[in-house]
Symmetry: C2
Subunit: 338 residues, 2 copies
């Protein structure tokens, strides 16, 4: 552990900030908070909005619902559009709702919905938002950024929140937030009460190369290393690698006779959701794979409990890891059917 | 990394919760949040208070001021008693103020003020609070718990907040919060907006052995280990060890001709603040010790910048580490005077 108020930390945080911005393709501001990914979603809300602000929440699963819940917890007037789990948000439906909300302050949306393995068409949604309103667009990119394309400035996104343990290949513990100039301006008039997630403090201390509060240093070290590795490999190469692993996973599921949960055209490149075959209990499948084959699958959440399994393929996942996972699913299914 | 929604994590979190409560001497509730120590202070405020509540903030330094700032940020009506930096809070002064605040909802106070190396008489303050009011007592124990005596239930404390990187001997990243039944009851009527730090979610998920949000797992592992080690060594032995290291540090400072910043009777057992001798710049002293002798001293904060140095002696600090630090101070002073 180093002194987080000393010169070594200043060097690290400057380098991390620059690399994170390069990877996201943004000229905006960026901050590292000691928190889970949900902390980045909360930071997006509390730093740009005020109680009573109208917010349009687009949800295609449990993380989308959570984003809306956070906005509501802080007193926003939330209008929710919920699409069926397993489908993606339809930008035209977003347009229809948005035109009836002339005072909409922000549209909040999940990029990659981990709970259903679906990716939302963020670029198209952002176009609609900017065409029809002055609303900010706040994106939960916890499980997408650094795994799938998300050129923040090109796509006109105002806040992007993500987390160290996902495609950033570091342990969990650091939430990352990037903000556009519009978001920073909104922050100046935001009246939601805040302290720990108040971006003002992070900005003020960043000027002197320090964090406002003692950060999760061990995670900072790992993340600094990962950010450098991603920039060194090249973000395009990293994204191509993620797409290849995702395709391998989808092909593998098909090979062992399973169906994807979402349509392949909207399937996530960071997590694949697979339908559990009829007559099989998804929870038993997850347990079997863990106990007999030492492979940790994700199960279905909430209304999908027992109905799907999920295989993550973010970060430094290698082709043989995917093979192992598919293999474990095949064997576990055979065991359960025996 | 394990699945934080799997059976291994459930075992870890149950064990950690039990050990943490044993060490603090409480039958109350306890939670682990992924955050800096400041997150534990914020959790104490947002979970027990409502906007407009009257709060008495007792401060003897920069961390005390921060606690008051957090309460104010969330809309509490904060009355502040500030004692001179380098002194401890006087329970009789607290009584005088408290009797004029019949509707006081909470008294907030720092146990160990790291910025000045002073420990507050929390047991005496708590007695006054309970004798004169129905106010809750919320304690910032970030740099005291597990290093100095803090029997939570015996002393009648309602919320105790602390952090993994201090006397708990783990890396930074996990904030820890313990709550009495009174605090839990206050939580039920608290209307401050909250989500990430809402203790309801932590309680609900604890029932099924899960965290509500992905925790800083690497820190969780280390902290689990430390908590077991503290219980195995025995909390009394751990506290005795801390007291011995503190005494060694104070003796060492005296031996090389330096004065403690606070009076020895109120000097902290986890961090020692030493007055920088006249004619010496404290910042140069800190730099010199770092650059020439590889010893990381703390400097003075805010109004004490340049005037004091601070030596931490929390956790597994060994006698030879203290000797090294004192030695580095002595040599650096000689260098600066040469």
């Amino acid at each position: 552990m180093i002194n987080h108020r000393g010169p070594e930390f200043a060097e690290i945080i400057d380098r991390m900030t620059a690399n994170f911005k390069t990877i996201l393709g943004t000229q905006g501001r960026a901050y590292f908070l000691t928190a889970s990914g949900t902390g980045s979603m909360e930071a997006a809300i509390v730093n740009t909005l005020s109680a009573g602000d109208r917010v349009l929440s687009i949800s295609i699963g449990s993380f989308g619902n959570r984003f809306g819940d956070i906005a509501e917890a802080y007193g926003a007037e939330v209008t929710r559009i919920e699409f069926e789990w397993g489908t993606a948000a339809d930008p035209e439906k977003v347009r229809e709702t948005l035109v009836s909300m002339p005072d909409c302050a922000a549209v909040i949306v999940t990029h990659n919905e981990s709970s259903t393995g679906v990716m939302n068409p963020i670029a198209d949604i952002s176009k609609v938002v900017h065409a029809e309103s002055d609303a900010l667009i706040l994106v939960d990119a916890v499980s997408s950024a650094a795994g799938v394309p998300l050129p923040m400035d090109d796509w006109g996104l105002d806040v992007v929140g993500t987390a160290s343990q996902k495609s950033w290949v570091a342990p969990p513990g650091i939430a990352m937030v990037a903000m556009s100039d519009r978001a920073w301006k909104a922050h100046e008039t935001s009246t939601i009460p805040k302290y720990y997630f108040d971006i003002d403090q992070y900005e003020k201390f960043l000027q002197i190369g320090q964090p406002p509060f003692t950060p999760a240093l061990s995670v900072i070290y790992a993340l600094d290393h990962s950010l450098q590795a991603i920039v060194a490999e090249g973000i395009e190469e990293v994204l191509t690698r993620h797409a290849a692993r995702a395709q391998q996973t989808r092909d593998g599921a098909k090979r062992i006779g399973l169906e994807l949960f979402p349509d392949a055209s909207i399937a996530s490149d960071t997590v694949t959701a697979i339908r559990v075959p009829e007559g099989i209990d998804g929870k038993s499948l997850v347990s079997r794979a863990r106990d007999e084959y030492n492979v940790e699958l994700g199960g279905g959440q909430e209304k999908l409990a027992g109905q799907i399994i999920r295989i993550g393929h973010m970060g430094w996942v290698q082709p043989e890891h995917i093979d192992e996972s598919i293999d474990a699913v095949e064997k576990s299914l055979a065991d359960l059917r025996a």
